[in-house]
Symmetry: C2
Subunit: 174 residues, 2 copies
């Protein structure tokens, strides 16, 4: 962090903003979350990314929210395809999550697991605890992120298996 007396590096309000972002990230590390891989395919090409900012909105119609960083490598493909498959990771998927959360090229990411094709045409992960195949129905403005309202058109789920959870900046199993 630059010293407060270095205005050429950061104005005081910028430093305060940066401090607030760091405090927010530290506190968010205390909010445990399931790890998912969100995939897409179609006219915009195939892509996928690891996501923890996923939650249920409504069961009527069944709808999920997915928060997507506008700077993500998957962003153009998701926007073009208007469909995603949200794959909920199981306990043995930590390495796959790392691949989909890093800088690994798309083909290498997908080569690391087995996929089928969902009704919307998106890759569905074999062995996921659950997969929600969705059409994007609307998008809300989340400043740095798009908040995708995803209507669920097809569901696969397993009744057995432990979950991969991200908490305290590390993977846990429940």
């Amino acid at each position: 962090m630059p010293p407060a007396q270095a205005p050429t590096l950061a104005a005081p309000e910028e430093t305060a903003g940066e401090d607030r972002r760091l405090a927010f990230r530290d506190a968010m590390a205390r909010l445990a979350a399931a790890v998912t891989i969100v995939t897409t395919d179609g006219p915009g090409g195939r892509a996928g990314f690891a996501a923890t900012a996923v939650c249920s909105v409504s069961d009527n119609p069944p709808t999920l929210i997915v928060c997507l960083n506008r700077g993500s490598s998957a962003y153009p493909a998701v926007k073009a395809n208007q469909a995603v498959c949200v794959n909920v990771l199981s306990a043995d998927h930590a390495e796959l999550s790392r691949l989909f959360g890093g800088k690994t090229p798309v083909d290498e990411r997908f080569a690391a697991a087995t996929w089928s094709t969902s009704p919307t045409g998106c890759p569905r992960l074999e062995g996921a605890l659950a997969s929600f195949d969705c059409r994007i129905r609307s998008v809300a403005d989340g400043n740095t992120h798009d908040v995708l309202f995803c209507e669920v058109e097809d569901i696969h789920s397993q009744t057995e298996g432990q979950a991969l959870v991200y908490f305290d900046r590390g993977y846990k199993i429940v």
Copy 2:
């Protein structure tokens, strides 16, 4: 489930819709989530509810999403107050979560724990892993739910402690 040949009980499309909702709920049970208690206070009165549909949207400005059922007893107070405190529960808060997720009267809910008052005037839970004090900046339509975009104005967090997680329709600890 009513038999398919009983149209006086449910039209086929209604049965299909109900089947889809049940499948969605079963699959959502496989998406682990941190348990939070979301509180509010102000002109609309004090209220609070247990929530798992909470996620981070952006760190610039720090913003959370909270999905709130329009039929929730806390709904009128949240709408009137336009402020919430999102308290992330620790491993020993399962009983508190049950109180805030059931039909217990408001005063009994709050009597079961110790609270301070956040800068926006909402109850902040002592011993929470993290507390995000927020103003509601906008609301998106989630059909049965309001999707609240909550800008974080004040943060408290602990670096230690295990988390309460809801998975497979039960409480787990990570």
